[in-house]
């Protein structure tokens, strides 16, 4: 493939939204209340909508027989480049909210920068997605505050979720070889420049939510290179079931 770095760069962004969208979709009919259930699945649908634009573009870049559906649904585990954070399970509502919040802050910073990309398709997708992601961040931030500054039980659960998810935050800023090539060409975003801003924003909100900021300096990574936690395989078997059982199925 001529543009393999660009292809991988697009997947690196799109896979985060696909996998997180699938996780949120699991809550359909299982959310803690009707209202939060619909809110989480709304966010899921926003993310899946964005993902379609990315994969359609990736299919065009690949320039072979590949379709957006094949890219989304028929890769093997090691060929997904999402960060480990988004594949973490919905252990409880605090985990769902904590994962969403830690991702949304990053996602919004990334899209703001991606608007300035020399690649006009990526910049257009970023511009289109920003309003949706701003709302996601507002929703998850509000809930982190409600749970953190809520009852003793909700505070304990929120703290616990943040403590356990914190180890996946540093990977958001990890750069693969393809990322580096794209940054050099002015297409990719140098995420290392977003890092201070990210941790400042996250820390401020956690403080407001009376959640203690974890001190651990040891971080997990691997997802962006295709090395995942044990959770991704199960998620993919759900995600890919329909397409593998009825190959080439379409809506």
């Amino acid at each position: 493939m001529k543009n393999e770095n660009l292809y991988k760069y697009i997947l690196g962004i799109a896979d985060n939204s696909l996998i997180l969208g699938q996780r949120l979709g699991e809550l359909c009919g299982h959310g803690p209340s009707l209202e939060t259930d619909i809110a989480c699945t709304n966010i899921s649908l926003d993310l899946l909508g964005q993902v379609r634009s990315y994969y359609q573009y990736a299919a065009k870049i690949a320039g072979d027989e590949r379709t957006e559906d094949e890219i989304a649904l028929l890769r093997k585990e090691r060929e997904y480049f999402n960060v480990l954070l988004v594949e973490q399970p919905n252990t409880d509502f605090a985990y769902t909210i904590g994962r969403q919040f830690l991702f949304d802050v990053y996602h919004l910073l990334l899209l703001h920068e991606l608007q300035k990309s020399k690649d006009l398709t990526l910049s257009a997708i970023a511009t289109k997605s920003i309003k949706e992601v701003s709302y996601h961040k507002r929703f998850s931030s509000d809930w982190v505050k409600r749970l953190g500054d809520g009852t003793d039980e909700s505070k304990e659960k929120m703290q616990n979720a943040i403590d356990n998810l914190w180890t996946y935050t540093d990977e958001l800023f990890y750069q693969t070889q393809s990322d580096k090539v794209m940054i050099a060409e002015g297409i990719g975003i140098d995420t290392s420049k977003l890092k201070d801003n990210y941790y400042r924003h996250v820390s401020e909100l956690l403080k407001e939510a009376t959640i203690e900021i974890p001190e651990s300096k040891w971080f997990q990574k691997g997802g962006k290179e295709g090395i995942h936690t044990e959770h991704l395989g199960y998620l993919l078997s759900d995600l890919q079931y329909m397409q593998r059982t009825y190959p080439n199925m379409e809506w």
Partner: protein, 94 residues
């Protein structure tokens, strides 16, 4: 949830120039959450441009038992309706 959040009534304006209409009700811990929930529950298919929320307990409703004295006297007074005028075509939403 052991204790339910309070109930809120949701009013949505579907386009500028139209009035807010009652869309339904939902549960939320406070007004801000009610607005966000209303956005997700009632406007996700592009139904609105403005939302009002009001906690259901603040609504005073008429008692159905009094329907006879409240509403029935109006039933046989056709002259209360402005049906004897011709409306110009330009007047909409009547």
């Amino acid at each position: 949830m052991k204790k339910n959040w309070p109930l809120w009534e949701i009013f949505v304006r579907s386009k500028n120039g139209l009035e807010h209409r009652h869309f339904g009700s939902l549960h939320a811990a406070d007004a801000e959450m009610a607005l966000e929930n209303a956005r997700d529950v009632y406007t996700r298919r592009n139904e609105g441009v403005s939302i009002w929320v009001v906690e259901s307990k603040h609504i005073t409703a008429s008692n159905p038992e009094n329907n006879g004295e409240l509403f029935e006297p109006a039933q046989d007074k056709v002259y209360r309706h402005p049906t004897f005028y011709d409306l110009p075509d330009e007047v909409k939403h009547m």
